[in-house]
Structures are given as structure tokens and as C-alpha cells.
């Protein structure tokens, strides 16, 4: 059938066919018609063949309007979408395996972001988001007296009793105080902290002991309060989980206590983190420390259903006004403050946690930006692959699905590694947290945190896949096939540039945050605490057991401790006191002056009570401003009662007067009159950033009772830490049964009073460092890519006479523009973040220009350094080889 055509096809018909047929059909159809014309002519003759050709052409022109559509490479009737997705995933894994450096970098970056965020979220979750682990927790409130300055204060026992008895909005109430004890049966003596609580305490919380019984009201009196309840942890650890012990007696502080019950394992002590033992309070009005001004108890209550804290506050304030009316000399001000226990427990840490959580989210954002950037760079190198696939019929949706699958693979691996990172860092983080951190025991990597991690990972996968996919969508695919070596980079880098700009901005925000926190800490540590911090060693000793039944024995023990330590070489001076500044104790007593009777009770000041050995003030280096220091002769209950007051207390009671020789009561309007013999400098008792408080120093033997726990301060000639071992040994030798704890230099004590700030600074600093590294890597990556792509252009430029300086400047300018834009946006963000950090700042404004400019300068310097390397490479391009490359 292949004969040469005998006759040419009709020209007009051919022309019509060429004009009218869709492009795809033209060549094969006309070819077929021409080929068949020959055979038709041979069969039927030329004229008939020509008519046949015209007829076929006419039908073709009239009916074949629509050309053929390209069949998809993978036809829709083939694999179902799920199978296709799995194939994409497999393809993604194969591709990643072929690019190990890219994969490793992406996975590590993501792991860092996911790990940090998940770990920080786990820490913050209980405080920020989770309700307290008690039934109907919103009804549990803390009730406090309103001080003259509007702040919330603890309550005295009688105030608690009256409020609890009369309040209609409260379902039940309890009082609680701190309790530090030594357990001395069942093994080595051990110090544990706990609470003394009203019998109703656990029913206020809505908790019942899982073993034994709760306290009962009959036990809640002075003579019968030798009853304790243990935490499950303490019972299991120290007492071997012995159920037979419940109901019998255990030895505490050398005295027998009835072990009434054991709390459930799940019980979490929110009010007193770290508490392991609870004793029934056992107060009544006969006790000297049960007075209205003895405000050392916290009142916790459960409101009636439907009663808000505000409603309870209204009623309790009215009750308080009545109490003030009845006892005008015993209250500084009228009013009650009611806050939910959840708020009261977490209020102090919320700002820190929000700030740190925000910082970790910023790190995550930077990590995502970086990985998206890496993906973009890779997508550019794969443009030909995508173009070929598109040319072979892969639809846009298909390519997007492929990129998404690859993003998901990277994100999933990163997420899994990130959760491992979270697990490891969370352990370290918890050991770093101050033990006073609320809800510390509720922190763990639970399902919620895992779900958050998984959710983040999924979002990351989509984000990482979508960024290059969107870019792919915009760029013309066919361009890439035509040999993509174009002259300039141009707008193709817009997406990457935007990512780098945001990285620089985020890094700047974190660096500014770290800078502000760091400067705050420096400012804080520069605060004069009122005593000489250097060359001081401190420790705590406790006189415990039957041999310390009376105060004489305890005072003798204190004397022995001082003597034993003073004898050590290198020790200059030794003093003891009932508490330590910045040691975390609150032991305040009302002070009333003989010559200023409580005509205006609202002005009656409170002071930290320090019962001290005569050498304490000079050992601490607390300066005497007026009068004299204590002498050894003062430390006797036979000597005239004397007191030394801080300058702040003196000026509050006797503004403009000489306090020396004036007489005061410490601890309520009753008691002995003490003559002021000296005035000393104020010290920071509670915290370096707290306003200075007032102190009253009293020789320990002139106080009605001896404190079991004594703080020993040791002034050394040299480095105090080198003496630590010897001091401990000497203290322990005085009484081997005596617990010696909290051995630390005063520097350490001061530092640990700033633990929360340190943690925030550490985290911010670490995050800022990561952000800086990622941002710099981002700038470098974009510039290096741009230089590589513009090799030809740069070659042309230098061939046309551009100097190396001009080329260096051109590349540098590109990097500097990116960094500069990032810095400007970052500065705006930093100003916002600073306002957020406000409550953590000390002695430095949230818009501190020194920090802002310093950090910006640092970032700019590092960014320019990152630009230099690609710029040098651009200068080194040889114009001839660059032009010959294509």
C-alpha cells in the first residue's frame, strides 16, 4: 500500500485543513489523508479520489474542532489518592536520603525548634493552662487582710477564726502556716518542710487521705495537736510504705506524733510546693502567737457554689470593717482581699513563663523559616525536574502534593527527634527550676505536650511544603526547561529574602530580650543588699530531740556551734541569727513605740524579727549608723532588754528624732519594753528587687523562746568556699545527731534569690544564640546562592570593567539590605516584646536604648561578616571562565 502518490491533493482543501484543524491534529491527519489519496485513486480513479479527499476534509474541518488533550502521566483512573500520597512519601524519603546534608540540617533545625517549644510548653502548661488538681478548684480561694498600702497580707489566728465563723459566702475555711521539722525515727535525721493546718484544711481542698483518716476538729487545740498526715511520697520513701504505721506514732523533732493518714499519690501541694508533712494547727486564743497582729497564717477557703472571689471579698471586707471597729488598735487597715488559689499560686511566675514560651515560639518560627528556606533553595535546584514532570503531564496539584509530602517527611523526622530533645531537656530544665516554682511536680511530658508537639510538626510539614510549592506555582515552569541560566537573580529570591528578613527580625527580638534580662540581672546584683556579701559562708543547724527540750540547751548549742567554727583557721568571725537575709524566710512582728502609742494604728510598722548572737551584725558587715552594737553582756535575759533597729524602721517610727533610748514592743502591744541602743543600715530581706524592709535585732537570750533552727554566718579571711568542708565538719562535731543543712556562700544565697531571673535569662540567652546562628546561616545561604546564580552576570560586569571593589560592594549591599530591613522590623518587635517583659526587668527600661542599639550593632556586624564570604567569592570570579561556562 505504499506507493508514491499519483496525484497531488487539492491545494485549497489542504490550505483549509491547515487553517481550520487544531494544531495537534494537523500533521497526522493530513498525512493520513494524503497517504490514502493514492490508494483511493488507484482503486476508484482520480476524480473519485479527489471528491473523497474533499469529503473527508470537510467532515474533519467541521467535526474536529477540539484538539486532543494531553493525557495525564498518571491517569486518574489509576492509583487512588491515598496510594498516590504514599508513593509521594516514599519518593520524598528517597530524595532525602540522596541529600544527607540537607536532610540533617533540616531535621536538626526542626528538632531544636520542636524540642524547645515542647519542653517549655510542658513547664508552662500546669501554671498557665491547667486547673488546680482539686475538685471544683475555682471555688478555692486565699483570703488575706488588706494592708494600709492596699497589698495583701497574711492573717492572725483570731482574725481567721472570726472571718471563718461569720462569713456566709464561705463554705469552709482553714488556716495554714509553714512547718520545718526533723524526722528522727526510721533512719538518719532528715529535714522536711510541711505545713501546720486547721483540721478542715484537706476538706477545703476537697482531698481525703487515701490511707487512715483526716484530722478531726477535736485535735485542733493546743494540747492535742501531735497529729500528722504524710504525703504519699514521704511515707513510701522513708517509712517503706508500711500500712501498719498508719494510726501509730512516729518521731518528729524528738517527740511522738500520731500518724493519722497518708495522702493519695496524686495529691499535689499547690499552696506549699515541696511540702511533705502536715500537722494539725492546734491554736486557740490563749496562745501568745494567736493574736490579731500575729499575722503569720494564710487563710484558705472554699466558697459556696456560685460565689465568686469578688462576692466573697465584698462580704469579708464588711466583716473586716466590723473587726477593725471592735479592735481598732490591732489592724493597720480595714478590708479583705480574696483571690483564687490558682491565681495566688501562679501569679508570680506567669510573666516569666509567658515570656519564655513566647521566646521558644520565636525560635520555632525561625527554625521553620530556615527549613523552608533550605527547601526553597533545593526547589530551585530541582526546577528542571519539576519542569520535566510538568511537561510529561504532571498537574500543578500533583507537584504541590509531592512537595507537601516531602515537607511532611522532613517535619515528621524533625518532630520525632524534637520530642526526644524535649524529653532530655525537660529533665535538665526541671532540675534547674527553683524548688519554689508553683506546680513543679505537675510538670511532665504528657499526652497534651505530645499532642502539641505532633500538631506543631504537622503544621511545620504543611508550611515547609507549601512555601516552595507556592513559589513553584508562580514561576513559569516552561522557563526552566529552556535552560534556566539567565543573567540575573532578580525577583526569584523574593521568598527566600523575605524569610531571611523575618529571621533577622526574630533573632533581634530574642537578643534584645536576653540583653534586657541580662542587664536587669547585672543591675540587680549591683544592688547593695545592706551587708557585705564577700567572704561569707552560711549554714543552717537545727537543735532537735529531747536534749533540746528547753531554751537553755538550745542557746548552749548555738554557743558551741559558734565556738567550734571560730576556732577553725581562716575564720575571722562567727555569728548566729534566727534567719538569714534573702534566705526566703518571712518572720515579721508588729512594732509599737512607748512614746508613740497606737493612736493611729494604721501606721504601726512591721519589722523582720532577727534574734541574733552579739557578733551577728559585725560578722554580716551591717553598718552601725547610730548608737552601739550589741555586747556579750547584752545576750542574757538578766541584762536590760535592748534592741537595735534598722534605719528604715527608726525613721518610720521617729521621723526626725533620735531613736536611741526610746523603748518599743516587738510582737504585739504586750510583752517587755526594749530600749533602742543602736541604729543599723537597712538590709534587703526578701529580695534584691523588693523595697527595703524594716528590721528589729534582739539578742537571742532576750527573746522569750529559742528558735530551733539557727542560721550561722561565718566571715572568712579567704575564699569562703574553701572552708565549707571544715565548717560543716566542725558544726557536725558539736552534735552528730544535729542536721546541718543549706551550706552555701552568701554569694550563692544572693544568687539563688534571683534563680527565676537567671532561668529566664539562661533560656532567653540560649534561644537568642540559636536564633542568631540560624539567621546568620540564612543570610549566608541566600547570598551564596545569589552569587552562584549570578556568576555569568558578575563575569560580564568585570569583563566590562567593574572594579573588584564595585562587585564587593554590590554583593555586600544585597546582604546589608536584607539585614537592615530585618533589623528595622526586629526593633519594632523588640519594643513590643520589651513591654511584655516589663515585670521581669529591673533598673532598665523596656526600650533601653543601650540594649537596643548594642544588640542591633552586634547583629549588624555578624550579618556583614556573613555577607563577606560570598562577596569575596564574587570578587574572585574569573570573567573568562564565567563567560565560557555556557
Amino acid at each position: 500500500m505504499t506507493r508514491r502518490p499519483l496525484l497531488p491533493p487539492p491545494r485549497l482543501a489542504l490550505w483549509l485543513l491547515r487553517v481550520a484543524l487544531p494544531a495537534s491534529e494537523r500533521e497526522p491527519l493530513i498525512g493520513d489523508l494524503v497517504e490514502e489519496l493514492a490508494t483511493t485513486a488507484a482503486d476508484r480513479g482520480e476524480a473519485s479520489a479527489r471528491r473523497w479527499f474533499w469529503r473527508q476534509s470537510a467532515i474533519a474541518i467541521l467535526t474536529l474542532r477540539r484538539g486532543r488533550r494531553r493525557a495525564p502521566l498518571l491517569h486518574p483512573t489509576g492509583d487512588p489518592p491515598m496510594l498516590r500520597f504514599l508513593a509521594d512519601l516514599r519518593h520524598g524519603v528517597r530524595l532525602l536520603r540522596r541529600a544527607p546534608a540537607f536532610t540533617l540540617l533540616s531535621v536538626l533545625t526542626l528538632a531544636l525548634g520542636v524540642g524547645a517549644t515542647t519542653a517549655i510548653f510542658s513547664v508552662a502548661d500546669p501554671v498557665l493552662f491547667r486547673p488546680l488538681p482539686y475538685p471544683a478548684p475555682e471555688r478555692i480561694v486565699i483570703v488575706g487582710e488588706r494592708d494600709a498600702d492596699g497589698t495583701m497580707s497574711n492573717v492572725g489566728f483570731l482574725t481567721y477564726r472570726d472571718l471563718a465563723r461569720d462569713a456566709r459566702t464561705l463554705d469552709r475555711a482553714a488556716a495554714a502556716g509553714g512547718w520545718e521539722v526533723t524526722l528522727d525515727g526510721h533512719g538518719a535525721p532528715e529535714r522536711v518542710s510541711g505545713q501546720r493546718v486547721s483540721a478542715s484544711f484537706f476538706s477545703v481542698l476537697g482531698v481525703r487521705p487515701s490511707l487512715g483518716r483526716d484530722f478531726n476538729a477535736a485535735e485542733d487545740t493546743p494540747g492535742t495537736n501531735q497529729v500528722v498526715i504524710l504525703s504519699h511520697g514521704l511515707w513510701a520513701r522513708r517509712y517503706g510504705g508500711d500500712t501498719a504505721l498508719v494510726g501509730s506514732t512516729i518521731s518528729i523533732n524528738g517527740a511522738p506524733f500520731t500518724l493519722a493518714g497518708v495522702l493519695p499519690e496524686s495529691f499535689e501541694s499547690v499552696m506549699a510546693p515541696g511540702a511533705q508533712i502536715w500537722r494539725v494547727l492546734g491554736y486557740d486564743e490563749s496562745l501568745p502567737y494567736a493574736c490579731r497582729t500575729c499575722r503569720h497564717l494564710r487563710m484558705v477557703a472554699r466558697t459556696r457554689p456560685g460565689i465568686t472571689p469578688a462576692a466573697a471579698a465584698t462580704e469579708l471586707s464588711a466583716l473586716s470593717a466590723r473587726l477593725v471597729h471592735e479592735h481598732p488598735k490591732e489592724y493597720p487597715a480595714a478590708g479583705a482581699i480574696v483571690v483564687s488559689l490558682g491565681d495566688a499560686a501562679t501569679r508570680g511566675t506567669r510573666p516569666v513563663l509567658w515570656a519564655v514560651l513566647g521566646a521558644s515560639a520565636l525560635v520555632l518560627l525561625i527554625a521553620v523559616a530556615n527549613v523552608a528556606n533550605l527547601q526553597l533553595a533545593r526547589a530551585m535546584r530541582r526546577e528542571e525536574e519539576f519542569a520535566i514532570r510538568a511537561a510529561l503531564g504532571a498537574g500543578r496539584g500533583r507537584l504541590t502534593a509531592q512537595l507537601l509530602a516531602e515537607g511532611l517527611v522532613v517535619a515528621t523526622i524533625g518532630g520525632v527527634v524534637g520530642l526526644i530533645v524535649a524529653r532530655v531537656t525537660l529533665g535538665a530544665l526541671i532540675s534547674w527550676l527553683p524548688p519554689t516554682m508553683p506546680r513543679l511536680s505537675a510538670i511532665h511530658l504528657d499526652q497534651v505536650a505530645l499532642a502539641v508537639g505532633a500538631g506543631i510538626t504537622l503544621l511545620l510539614g504543611v508550611a515547609i511544603g507549601l512555601v516552595p510549592a507556592l513559589r513553584e506555582r508562580r514561576s513559569g515552569l516552561s522557563d526552566s526547561l529552556r535552560g534556566g541560566k539567565r543573567l540575573t537573580g532578580g525577583r526569584r529570591h523574593l521568598a527566600r529574602a523575605a524569610l531571611v528578613v523575618s529571621e533577622v527580625a526574630l533573632a533581634l527580638m530574642l537578643l534584645v530580650g536576653a540583653g534586657l534580662l541580662g542587664r536587669s540581672l547585672v543591675q540587680l546584683l549591683a544592688v547593695d543588699p545592706g551587708f557585705d556579701v564577700g567572704h561569707l559562708l552560711t549554714l543552717q543547724a537545727q537543735a532537735t530531740g529531747p536534749k533540746y527540750a528547753d531554751s537553755t540547751a538550745i542557746f548552749a548549742n548555738h554557743d558551741q556551734l559558734r565556738d567550734a567554727i571560730r576556732r577553725l583557721p581562716g575564720v575571722e568571725q562567727v555569728g548566729t541569727a534566727s534567719q538569714l537575709p534573702l534566705g526566703g524566710n518571712v518572720d515579721m512582728y508588729g512594732v509599737s513605740a512607748q512614746d508613740k502609742p497606737l493612736a493611729n494604728p494604721e501606721l504601726a510598722p512591721y519589722a523582720d524579727r532577727y534574734t541574733v548572737s552579739p557578733e551577728f551584725l559585725s560578722t554580716m558587715g551591717i553598718a552601725i549608723r547610730r548608737g552601739r552594737a550589741f555586747t556579750a553582756a547584752d545576750n542574757s535575759d538578766a541584762a536590760p532588754n535592748v534592741v537595735i533597729v534598722s534605719a528604715g524602721l527608726a525613721s518610720r517610727i521617729w521621723p526626725g528624732e533620735d531613736p536611741i533610748g526610746k523603748r518599743i514592743h516587738v510582737g504585739g502591744p504586750s510583752g517587755v519594753w526594749r530600749t533602742v541602743v543602736g541604729v543599723v543600715a537597712n538590709i534587703h530581706h526578701r529580695a534584691l528587687d523588693a523595697t527595703e524592709s524594716s528590721q528589729a535585732y534582739i539578742p537571742e537570750r532576750q527573746w522569750p523562746y529559742a528558735d530551733n533552727i539557727v542560721a550561722v554566718v561565718v566571715r572568712t579571711h579567704g575564699d569562703p568556699s574553701t572552708l565549707a568542708r571544715a565548717v560543716r565538719a566542725a558544726a557536725q562535731a558539736v552534735d552528730p545527731a544535729q542536721p546541718v543543712t543549706a551550706l552555701a556562700t552568701m554569694h550563692q544565697v544572693v544568687a539563688s534569690s534571683t534563680a527565676q531571673r537567671r532561668l529566664a535569662l539562661l533560656l532567653f540567652g540560649a534561644f537568642a544564640l540559636v536564633a542568631l546562628v540560624l539567621a546568620v546561616a540564612g543570610i549566608y545561604g541566600v547570598l551564596a546562592g545569589a552569587v552562584a546564580e549570578r556568576t555569568r552576570e558578575i563575569g560580564v560586569r568585570s569583563a566590562l570593567g567593574a572594579t573588584p571593589g564595585a562587585i564587593l560592594g554590590m554583593v555586600l549591599l544585597q546582604g546589608v539590605r536584607l539585614a537592615g530591613l530585618g533589623l528595622v522590623i526586629g526593633l519594632a518587635g523588640a519594643l513590643l516584646l520589651g513591654r511584655f517583659l516589663q515585670s521581669l526587668l529591673f533598673g532598665v527600661g523596656s526600650a533601653d536604648p543601650l540594649t537596643l542599639l548594642g544588640v542591633a550593632a552586634l547583629l549588624a556586624t555578624v550579618a556583614i561578616a556573613a555577607c563577606l564570604l560570598p562577596a569575596m567569592r564574587a570578587v574572585g570570579i574569573d570573567p573568562m571562565s564565567a563567560l565560557r561556562a555556557d
Binding site: 493520513d32 467535526t63 474536529l64 486532543r68 493525557a71
Partner: protein, 105 residues
């Protein structure tokens, strides 16, 4: 289920084997069905079958008797074979055991 003409075209592609392009496909249908079908109708149907993924097209070499124009060759895809087999089997099953008086023709 395929249309009748679709079945004819697919069978013609099968018959033509390696040499299945417009002329041979139309030739087979004209010869066996004794119908003078237009080339355009064949092309239209092939296009539709291609869109359905039942046939695959590829471009061949130009030959002189076609004025130097390329042929477009066709082959059945796996789904194309499957669909065709099903259609033919349905016809055979429907016809089985029926006295259509076919012998008398």
C-alpha cells in the same frame, strides 16, 4: 461500558498491532464493518479514548508518501485492554444460547 464505535476503534488498533495509525485503523474498520467511516470520526474517537487513558499515542517518523508528515501511532493501555475485554465478554454472554437465525444469513 464502551460505545460501539469505541469498541470498533479499539479492536482495529489491536488488529493493526505495531502499525496502528490513522490509515490502518480506519482501513480495518472499513474492511470489516463495510462502512465508509470518515477519518475525522476515527480521530475524534481516538482522542476521546486517549483522554480516558485507554489508548496511548506516540509520534512516528515522517514518510515520503505522506508528503513528509509524521504518523501518530496508537497502542492500547492496560485499562484499555481491560475495558475492551469486558465489553466484548458482555456481548458474548448476552448472545450465548440465543437463536438469532444467524446461520440462515
Amino acid at each position: 461500558m464502551l460505545g460501539e464505535f469505541e469498541q470498533l476503534v479499539l479492536l482495529a488498533v489491536l488488529r493493526a498491532g505495531d502499525d496502528a495509525y490513522g490509515v490502518t485503523i480506519r482501513g480495518a474498520i472499513v474492511r470489516e464493518s463495510r462502512r465508509d467511516v470518515s477519518l475525522a470520526a476515527v480521530y475524534k474517537t481516538l482522542n476521546r479514548l486517549e483522554e480516558k487513558g485507554l489508548v496511548l499515542a506516540h509520534v512516528g517518523e515522517p514518510t515520503p508518501e505522506r508528503g513528509g508528515r509524521r504518523k501518530r501511532y496508537y497502542a492500547l493501555t492496560a485499562p484499555g485492554r481491560r475495558s475492551l475485554r469486558q465489553s466484548v465478554q458482555v456481548l458474548q454472554r448476552m448472545a450465548r444460547g440465543l437463536d438469532l437465525g444467524l446461520e440462515t444469513i
